[in-house]
């Protein structure tokens, strides 16, 4: 019963936050002379109506599921992983190296190898954060941001130098295309929907099982909720957080890997855009729960897909969705706004019997 209540309240928070964000964004749009109702109409219909629109939303959702999981698993262990962007780039980089330069493998071997390389690269990069925290007490907020920038510059440098495709017609800095044997197969003809979607579902399921059913997952949750209790119970906080960062990096690496093997096919400068930070929104809105992450990733995928149509048809800049996403995060993270306690303090009670001790 308690669990159902918790789930319901999580759902309530998410729903109210989305609603509030939509209303405020709408008011701002109206104030600037756009038609918010038309914009929302185009946003929604551009994202879900028709097979091609719907499948494209799912395509956009796949990397968000992984970056969302990346933030969530670190958060559950008490760390804030802002480094998904960097881990994603390193993952994409490793995948590209395997996908381009390892030749003569059958697809059945090449795809798993490329994915594994991306996952391992991201995990290693995530583990750096854990290592620096354990060894030097380096604050993970700063280290992750530094590592993000380093990874971005590294990719920028490599695709404009050693890895640059010199045979291409354009002089645009990009790597050679991933070999056909490493490209993730499509699962629906006529759309861009690819096998990465199934991997995302698998990853979410694995995350759920890991958290709820394994010893490591249990330790991870305990460390996140109360590190000193965990220490007293004989768990190693340092090792657990390192494991969490390893997994977080692995998930983010897979996001880059799958994006590379299924959609981009060539490593390019800043191809990931905001995927890393969007993962934070996804994880928060989903309450760090498997199903929640899946649903909120779909919502964000939908928004990012529909925004293009909205920009075309109702002239509202597609960047409006960032405004909306920012507001959604704010209202989710400020969920104390919905608690009775806050309002009790502000609104005088009819018969103020309950006002004795609250300072």
């Amino acid at each position: 019963m308690k669990r159902i209540c918790a789930k319901a309240s999580g759902f309530f928070t998410a729903a109210v936050s989305i609603l509030l964000a939509c209303v405020i964004t709408g008011i701002l749009m109206y104030g600037m002379g756009y038609n918010p109702l038309d914009a929302y109409y185009q946003l929604f219909f551009g994202a879900v109506v028709g097979l091609s629109a719907l499948s494209e939303s799912v395509v956009k959702m796949v990397p968000l599921v992984f970056t969302g999981l990346s933030f969530a698993i670190a958060k559950r262990s008490g760390l804030v992983n802002l480094g998904a962007t960097g881990q994603l780039y390193i993952g994409a980089l490793c995948t590209t190296v395997v996908g381009v330069y390892v030749t003569g493998l059958p697809a059945a071997l090449h795809i798993p190898l490329a994915l594994a390389a991306g996952c391992a690269g991201g995990a290693a990069y995530g583990a750096v954060v854990g290592f620096l925290k354990n060894r030097f007490q380096a604050n993970e907020l700063i280290t992750t941001i530094m590592l993000n920038e380093i990874a971005t510059e590294l990719v920028n440098c490599l695709v404009d130098g050693p890895m640059k495709d010199l045979d291409a017609l354009t002089k645009f800095p990009q790597s050679k295309a991933i070999l056909d044997s490493a490209v993730l197969p499509k699962i629906l003809t006529g759309t861009r929907l690819h096998a990465g979607f199934l991997l995302a579902l698998l990853a979410v399921a694995l995350y759920g099982v890991f958290m709820k059913r394994t010893k490591w997952g249990y330790e991870l949750r305990v460390v996140g909720m109360n590190p000193s209790a965990a220490r007293t119970a004989g768990m190693s906080v340092q090792r657990t957080q390192l494991l969490a960062m390893l997994l977080a990096g692995g998930f983010a690496g897979l996001a880059g890997s799958i994006e590379m093997l299924a959609i981009q096919k060539r490593l390019m400068q800043s191809f990931a855009g905001n995927l890393g930070f969007d993962g934070i929104a996804v994880a928060l809105l989903g309450g760090n729960q498997p199903l929640g992450i899946l649903l909120s990733a779909f919502l964000f995928g939908m928004m990012s897909n529909g925004s293009n149509k909205m920009q075309m048809l109702s002239n509202v800049p597609s960047a409006v969705i960032y405004l909306m996403q920012g507001l959604i995060i704010l209202f989710v993270v400020g969920r104390y706004l919905y608690s009775k306690k806050l309002w009790e303090g502000l609104i005088p009670q009819r018969k103020s019997r309950r006002e004795e001790v609250r300072p």
């Binding site: 701002l28 749009m29 600037m32 002379g33 804030v80 802002l82 620096l132 060894r135 030097f136 007490q137 380096a138 604050n139 907020l141 700063i142 280290t143 941001i145 530094m146 590592l147 993000n148 920038e149 380093i150 510059e153 590294l154 920028n156 440098c157 404009d160 130098g161 905001n274 930070f277 969007d278 934070i280 929104a281 928060l284 800049p317 960047a319 409006v320 969705i321 960032y322 405004l323 909306m324 996403q325 920012g326 507001l327 995060i329 704010l330 993270v333 400020g334 969920r335 104390y336 706004l337 806050l342 300072p359």
Partner: protein, 303 residues
């Protein structure tokens, strides 16, 4: 004027953006507030400065508007973190995402989608009579007014932080809010003040970026400088003087990028761009326990 002199001039110019925002951030950080949202605050400031300068014709009105806009956004941050106990890091990230959307929306509303870049009033270079004639360092003294202001503010901030009652209060709140609350200090008010000051200075930095260093707004123009400010604060070990050193270093590496790109095209510029981040990473590891980082950093104080 020699190449070195020009280089030094551009170092000081580029350091100013980091310095202005860093001086604000240092007070926020010392009060125990981790504000990732500086990136967004600076972006807002950059846009508001251009809007103000464009509509009124005076760059100072732009600056004022930039400071107000950033402070408004900082007030949102303060409201969510202090009143609603929201996680500071996540709120900061939300602020960044929100600002990246809001600025584009505002920018396109004011200037149109495919508008020409209009001429706006910007900060003019102000030569200090005698000093600007000096041989090597001359270009340092031929800068826009905010540059001098930023460097003059450094000792002021250092003094306020270490030698005044106010600075002591801010530092104590960051280290032990409960003790402060017990002796009757208004913990929340001090934190809110620090956040608003961070907003004010970030707005100034953004305004300087768009109307001093450059002369217009482009979408996403802050491009990670807000994160660099956080790095500068950590690298400068949470003191105004240290922030100045870090800002100069970052400014130098940024100025060096542009120069070396022209001089030695063989070495990829990305390597220089990477340098400040790597240095900061090492610096954070070296400080360890000697760090001035507040004990209660990044956590919300619940009464």
């Amino acid at each position: 004027m020699s190449a070195l002199s020009v280089f030094l001039g551009s170092v000081v110019m580029m350091a100013t953006t980091y310095l202005l925002a860093g001086l604000g951030a240092v007070f926020g950080e010392r009060a125990g507030i981790v504000n990732i949202g500086i990136e967004g605050l600076m972006l807002t400031g950059a846009l508001m400065a251009v809007v103000g300068s464009y509509t009124s014709g005076s760059v100072w009105v732009g600056l004022l508007l930039a400071m107000l806009g950033s402070m408004l956004l900082a007030a949102v941050f303060a409201c969510f973190t202090i009143c609603l106990h929201a996680n500071q890091t996540v709120t900061g990230v939300a602020l960044n995402i929100l600002a990246s959307g809001l600025t584009v929306l505002l920018f396109r509303t004011v200037f149109g989608l495919n508008g020409m870049i209009p001429q706006i009033d910007t900060f003019e270079a102000l030569e200090i009579p005698v000093l600007s004639g000096l041989p090597v360092v001359g270009a340092i003294f031929g800068q826009p007014l905010p540059v001098y202001l930023a460097f003059v503010l450094v000792p002021v901030c250092q003094f306020v932080m270490n030698r005044t009652n106010l600075g002591l209060k801010i530092r104590s709140v960051g280290n032990h809010p409960k003790a402060c609350d017990t002796v009757g200090l208004p913990v929340y008010r001090i934190q809110a003040g620090a956040i608003l000051f961070t907003g004010l200075m970030s707005g100034f930095a953004g305004a300087f970026l768009s109307t001093g260093q450059l002369s217009f707004f482009t979408e996403g123009m802050v491009a990670g400088r807000g994160y660099m400010v956080l790095a500068a604060v950590a690298f400068g070990n949470y003191s105004p003087l240290g922030v100045m050193a870090a800002a100069l270093l970052f400014g130098a590496s940024e100025a060096l990028q542009y120069r070396l790109q022209v001089a030695y095209p063989v070495i990829p510029t990305e390597l220089y761009a990477m340098l400040p981040y790597i240095i900061t990473l090492f610096a954070i590891c070296i400080y360890r326990r000697k760090s001035n980082r507040p004990v209660y950093s990044g956590r919300n104080y619940l009464r």
